[in-house]
Structure formats: C-alpha cells, structure tokens
Symmetry: C2
Subunit: 393 residues, 2 copies
C-alpha cells in the first residue's frame, strides 16, 4: 500500500515548499461525498525515520498555522511557530523523532485549498468542495503512507490541531501510539461558532471578496480578513493577558487632534495583527477551515457518545488545558480525557496554570513543556524507542 | 438658573420624538475643549414631578439604547427597552416617580450627534466634536435644568448607562440622592477596548463608510455596522446562555448544497442581530459612543483613585453585578462599591446569580428587580417621599 501510493504521488519542491501531489487517478474521497483531485499536500519534516519506522510524530497545526513548526517559513520569512515544543532537545526532540507537519487541506501554504487550481487549471474559489477535519486527517494519512510511515509514535496538536489529533486517534487507532491534545475541544460551543461566524461575516461583507472570486479578479478582501483576524485574536488572549500587556496605555498621537486613529496601544496592536495577517493568509481558506472546525463533532460521528470514538483505542492520551483559555476552556479538555478514560484508555488531563489565554500553548510555558516532555518520554520508553543521540540533559 | 435655561431652550415634538434645543448662544462646553451649538437633547418622561421636585429619576441608556425606556419607540416601533424596571408598579414606579430618559449626546434618536446638522445645516459626520461620558452627563443636566428639576432622587443606568450614573454622582454629588449602577465599569479593560475596536474597524472597513461622509452621499456602511453589532452581541451573552439557547442546533438548509449560508441556528441569530441593527442605528454614532466609553476613566479624572470621585458624596449607592457577565464582570462592579465605601459613602454591592451574561440586566431577573425595588424604596423612605398612588403590593 505504502509503496503503491508513493509511486502514485509526485514529490516536488518549489520556493522552499515541499509537497506531494496526486493526480486525477488518486482522488481524496471527502466526507461530504465529493472526490478531490488533483490533490497536493505540502509538508515539512525534521529528523530521521528510524529503521523500524517507529519514531514518527505528526504535528497538526491550528487554524492559521502552517507546516513550518520548527523552521522558518521560506515564503513569509516568519520564524517557526512552535520552537519551544519541536526541535533538538525540545519535548518533541528532532534528534530522536521523525517529525512531520503538513499544511492542512483547505489551507494556503501549498496544500490543496480554495486558492488552488482545479483539474482545468482554474482557481477553485468557492467551487472548492466542503472539507472536514476528518478530510484533513485522511490527507495527512495519504502523506504518511507515501512517506513510508506505517504508524505514528505520536500525534500532537493544539487548538484545531488538537481536533485533528483526536480525529487521528478515533479514525486510525492502530496507527497512533500516543496522542497529545492541547487547548482544544471535541466540538465547538455556540460561542465558538458565533465568533467564527463574526469573522466569516467580516470577510464576506468586504466587497472585494466578490463572492469568493477575488483571486481571478486580482483583488482581495484585505480589510474584511483583517477584521476577522482582529475579532479572533481577542478570543486567543485572556482578559488578564491583555490587561497586563496593554491595560489602558495610551497611544501617542498628535496633540489636540481627534480622529478614529488608535487612542490606546491595544488598538494599535490589534490593527497590526489584522494587517500582518492579510499578507500571509487567504480569505477563502479562512472560511473553509473555520467551517470545518465548527462542523467538527467527534461524538456525533460515534453515536453521540464521545467515549465511543475511542472504544477500540490502545492509544495513550494526554489532554492539556490552560486555566485562562476561554476560547477552548479547561472544561472542554477535561471532557476529552474523561471520555477517553470512560473508553478504558490510558488518559490524563493536565491543567496548566497560566494567565495567557488560548495562545498560551504557543508561548513560553515551562510547566506545559515539562509535562509534555514527561508524557512523550514515558510513551517513548513504553514504545521501546531508543535515543538516537545523547539523551536530553 | 433653571428659569433662564428653560427660556433659552426651545421645546418641540416631531415624529413622536420630544426634544429640547439650544441655539448658538447656549453652547455645550465639551471636555475636549470644543463648544457644541446648536444642541438638541431628545428625551422621554413618565409620571409627574411632585410639588417639592424631589421625585425625579434619571434613567441613563446604554450604547445602542434610546430614551424610550418605558414606552414604544415611535420611529422604530420597538417596544420599551426596560419595561421590567420602569413603569407602573415596577422598581422605578412611574406612579411614584417622575422618570426622565434622554437620548445620549452623540446618539441618533434625536439628540445631537454625528448625523445632526451643524450651524450651517450641513451634516457633521466626523466633524462632530469628540464627546465624553462627562459631556453626555452635562447635556442631561441642561435638560433637567430646563425641566425644572433641581436635583434627582435617583440616577440609574446599566452598561454605558452605568458610567453616566457614576459620572452624575461624581460631578453633581449634591444633585443625586441615590445612584444605582448595573453591569458597568468605572473604566474599560483592554479587552473591552479591543472588542470595541473590532467593531469600529468593521465599520471603517466598509467602503460605504466613506470616511464617515456616507450620509451626504446617500449610502451607509450597513454591512460593516452589522458585523460590528454581531461582534458586540457575542460579548453581551454568556457562553452558557448561547449554549442553552442554540448549542449546535443546525439550521435547515437545502440538502446536498454547500455554501456559507448558516449551518447553525446561532449563525442565523447573529445575522439577524446584525441586520435588524442597521435599520435603527447610525454607524458614526457607534464610533463616537464606543470611543467615549473607552475613554471613560473616572479614577483618572480624580487623581487616579476611584474613591476620590465620591469623596464629597452623600449619595446612597447600590452597585449590581451579574455572575456570568464577562463584558463588565462582577469584579468591576464590586470595585465600584469598594471605592464608594472607601470614600465613606453608604454603598452596597449586589451580585445576581444569572447565566444570561451582560444582557441579564435587560431580561427577566426577578432577584435583580426585587433587590433594586428594595434599594429604591428604602432610599425613597429616607428621602421622605410619599406615595402618589397606592403603594405597591
């Protein structure tokens, strides 16, 4: 199987983006019924696959992330997004593990998405089929097949990446030895959906969105996308983090003038977040991926009981919540571990005291890193994984 | 003083909106330094002023409210916005009190605001001067002067209306016998400012905003204003209230189709909130009033210590917080009462257990109504106010 797929796929590298493409004869069957072909999966990898192919780790990225988890993005120049978690000597030690991270299906960093071209070479825009978290995971499985990775030592992800990791454990229990999910949820609350909908409406309210066909018209809904990002960004930070960092600190502006220029530093910060986002993200991808996240409901796929999603699993689970995360609150992450325990799995819930909000999982949180290291190391020992280089200090 | 002002002002009624206008020779001196003239204050009143003019209650409305606290709005046809709190037999009993509610300065229901005309008859748009909560209160004081109300038995307000009530107590301590502030804050947190800024950016991102000059151009930034309202609306509801009311209930849509039409009822609800808002509110008013709320910082006006704002006060205070209000959390309301107590005032903090979020103060909350009734009745007794009609049961 692995060999056949690898032959069917075509490897390429362009502008520093590595990818695997499948032609018309190897479509991705989507949960919505459509088949997607051609299909491209852009990815990055770190470390070496060991001889018995037992040391692979799949890192799943979040809504606006990319495959450059541990190296700079060659297109945007942005630094790696998870350098504290993935790298030499880090919890996911690239001296020990073969780490793969792929741009999610529907994304805009090389994988097939609404800005890709269809078989006739025309941009999809809204003709791109609806995609789900399960579809993203199936595309990742095709990539791993092609890479000759029969099973994962671990799958790990935060936020929407955590949904993918949960989906991996549910859909491919025999291929996942350990699973770490971080600041995520097995399904969106009404509030999650509401905030995503505000973002989608902001994009679609922009006349330059052109019913999604902006790409062909050489325009883009930059202002709408920036507003969407700003609204989302507020949900990623805790009240306390915003207060500590900005409080009511005023923004210097010309004395005696009044305008709707920023009065407060927090406003400038948000505007910067919006502006810098539009250069690196596609508005239609934002629509498709937020929709996939809203639609994700792991329990619903397994008869309405989350535990059923893990009923055949022998995966070792660790679920992390951050105390001040109000986007995916601790309770949501606790519920995941509870369902896993109810399914008879080895599962832990770890709550990290942090006042940084949802974004904490991307920031410096020594307790999180130490706990994740413990979970990974214990799982690696259980898996019988030897160190490839000097054991971490 | 009262007589002079009443002579200077001109009373009128148009389309069911009552208002008081001051001409060029009676400008409103604004905190920002400008003088606003002409000035119009639209208002509504209920009940009768008693002979010794001791039974007046000023109700201050919130961001998107209006003067029609206890009667239907004759322009929009919308029902009264606080019928459970103001009316015959209600906590603010219109059989007992003379209740005044005025459209805030900067608003769009008859009072001077960015959609008003300047002295030359041209719409202000962004030439309207910057306004503050203190300016809104000064305009209310001019109205009360003209109405022959030397002092208030009580001032009451929720949300941004609570800011006005606090400002009244601080600026005119001798004119306020009792003050009830509800689900408010003495200054905005960084998160409050951030959410307001998202709304402002959504409005300004709409090309039909036209740098604020949409009115002259016979267009309006309807889509941007709707997105602003949607973003704000999510902050008015608790996570639990959204979950209970909508959860993940799907929205019926044509089978087999995929679009970015609503998948979930919570999306339809938000879109409805956005759509219905644009018919009743002015985008520039939204910018000016949110800015005034963000700039409000009562402690800063009194040497940095909130208690100093109440140091000469003999007002009786009651501060109400709702347990699930994350827009103006209980802690913010508790801090107000703490400062009032520190200033030596008679002040209570009452926390209402509710899972309805910030909007709880506008909804059915029997415990809130009962507690407010107790506060008002006790204050009325202390003020020696007789009942004008049968005492409530």
């Amino acid at each position: 199987m692995t060999q056949i797929l690898a032959q069917l796929g075509r490897w390429s590298t362009a502008n520093g983006i590595r990818s695997l493409s499948f032609a018309q004869d190897k479509p991705l069957q989507l949960a919505g019924g459509a088949a997607l072909a051609p299909l491209t999966i852009a990815y990055e990898s770190y470390g070496r696959l060991n001889e018995d192919k037992s040391n692979a780790v799949l890192v799943c990225h979040a809504l606006t992330g990319d495959q450059f988890v541990a190296s700079a993005n060659p297109v945007s120049g942005r630094p790696p997004w998870w350098p504290r978690v993935v790298g030499p000597g880090r919890p996911i030690d690239t001296n020990r593990f073969f780490v793969v991270c792929s741009n999610i299906l529907g994304g805009c960093m090389g994988s097939s998405g609404p800005s890709s071209e269809d078989a006739e070479g025309k941009p999809y825009a809204l003709r791109f089929p609806v995609i789900t978290i399960a579809d993203m995971v199936r595309a990742q499985a095709m990539l791993l097949d092609a890479l000759g990775v029969p099973s994962l030592f671990a799958v790990i992800g935060g936020s929407i990446g955590g949904m993918q990791a949960l989906q991996w454990a549910a859909a491919y229990p025999e291929r996942v030895f350990a699973c770490a999910t971080i600041a995520t949820s097995a399904r969106h609350s009404a509030q999650n959906i509401a905030f995503h909908e505000v973002g989608r409406q902001a994009i679609m309210a922009d006349p330059d969105w052109r019913e999604g066909a902006y790409q062909q018209l050489a325009v883009r809904p930059a202002k709408g996308l920036a507003v969407a990002r700003m609204a989302a960004h507020v949900t990623y930070l805790s009240q306390a983090a915003l207060q500590r960092r900005f409080g009511r600190a005023p923004k210097a502006k010309a004395a005696g003038t009044f305008s709707f220029d920023p009065d407060f530093q927090v406003e400038s910060y948000l505007r910067h977040q919006g502006r810098s986002f539009i250069d690196r993200f596609d508005a239609n991808s934002y629509l498709y991926i937020t929709r996939a996240a809203d639609q994700f409901d792991l329990a619903a796929d397994y008869g309405g009981t989350l535990a059923q999603a893990f009923r055949h699993s022998r995966t070792r689970f660790c679920s992390f919540g951050f105390s001040s995360d109000w986007h995916y609150p601790p309770e949501e992450n606790k519920a995941i571990a509870r369902a896993q325990v109810a399914a008879g799995c080895a599962a832990s819930y770890v709550e990290i005291l942090s006042d940084k909000g949802h974004d904490a999982f991307l920031l410096e949180e020594p307790e999180f890193e130490a706990t994740l290291t413990g979970f990974i190391d214990a799982a690696a020992t259980a898996r019988g994984l030897a160190w490839q280089s000097d054991k971490r200090a």
